[in-house]
Symmetry: none
Subunit: 134 residues, 4 copies
């Protein structure tokens, strides 16, 4: 099972956090299905070229959130996410991100219309060129 996670070396965001965020998205959005066996800590650490400590932390954090289940000697599986929970999770995450952005606009005294215009441009662009390549 290959997990499509991108690491940004130059970001100040901690490694474990980048990975957690992306893996969480993959699970909640259903791109990795319930019951899937994830790669072992070592495998993933290897393929992402980072420390096992970092991956262990990621798995553990997500297990604490109830998104993963670990079975001794067997491996780590994707736990079930109820449809309702999934929707709430998605919505909450997006609301938070958008709220931050809107507050930024507010604090800079941007008008409502300017903010909307810029938003529409970005949506337009991102949703028509969905896959980025390096």
């Amino acid at each position: 099972m290959r997990i499509p996670i991108q690491i940004n070396e130059h970001s100040p965001e901690p490694l474990y956090h980048q990975i957690e965020t992306q893996l969480r998205s993959l699970i909640i959005s259903g791109q990795i299905q319930e019951g899937t066996l994830l790669p072992s800590i070592r495998e993933l650490a290897n393929s992402l070229n980072c420390s096992v400590i970092t991956i262990r932390r990621v798995y553990q954090d997500l297990e604490n959130e109830g998104l993963l289940r670990t079975r001794q000697g067997t491996g780590t599986f994707v736990a079930g996410v109820g449809e309702q929970m999934r929707e709430k999770f998605k919505r909450d995450t997006v609301v938070e991100a958008l709220t931050t952005a809107v507050e930024t606009g507010l604090s800079l005294h941007l008008s409502e219309d300017e903010l909307k215009t810029i938003f529409m441009e970005i949506v337009q662009q991102k949703y028509n060129q969905p896959k980025e390549r390096k």
Copy 2:
């Protein structure tokens, strides 16, 4: 000159970063005008209840960004950033914040319409109740 800055003790965001962000906003949004003499580092440290060094760092970082100008023995001033640059600065900041939010939506497989709807709700709410209360 009183500087309206709010510190959130419980935020994981570093103190100096909270102050920097707010002061930067005040300057590039024009709420503090070019040439204004800011409070001395000791004064501001006192009124924000933090260490002199923290304020020193804030002033220095913003000076490195070209937003402040300081003269030993005299004080710290708001530097002149051209109107054009100010606009660019504002736009860049907002574009970055919105892009992050939109990408979050994309990664969660949210539809364009859902994202727009949520955005409009937030804008509606934030722009009609601009002052937060605790």
Copy 3:
């Protein structure tokens, strides 16, 4: 990795600035290669007999200039500056230093020839006895 930096205790030039200048030179002249892991701030502070904070500042300033890259928990690396940029950097630095010197000559009403003669003497001397001894 040992970093050849000399500190002059008696110079009025601030410690952090002496170190910054020398480390910057080492990097942009290519004497320390891209990707090199620098000593930890504690190590360098120890070997230069100065405070951790002073070294921290040096590393941070150079990171802001784009010459270093640091990752919490991992260490501080020499960032990749393109060959082109490196050359520009070198040239700019030297041009600035020479311009200052020439302007000094001008303000003292030195003739063009006198200035050139003195310059040639100094170059002759410095480039044939490159290593200073104490």
Copy 4:
């Protein structure tokens, strides 16, 4: 007597030092002649738009160097600079400035020829457009 001194607000160089350097040059190069009565501390402070304390320091430092003489109740005069001393002074000043520049080149591993070429370009330019205008 008007003293042609330019202050650079944006330079990190201390005010008193900028003024001292320029006044010293004017005296040593003979542009202000021996015996000339300089403006009073207040006058000069006024015309340069800086503090009297700053000017007092300048006059005092230059008096300590033997370039000025103060007579109670009369004012501050330019002291005599012997021809020999003047030449030595000029040469020393220029040698110091050029040495710094050459050492910068050396530390960046610039070749002798590169350094010479850049120097010649700068001299060419500066000596043919001697008066800067703002």
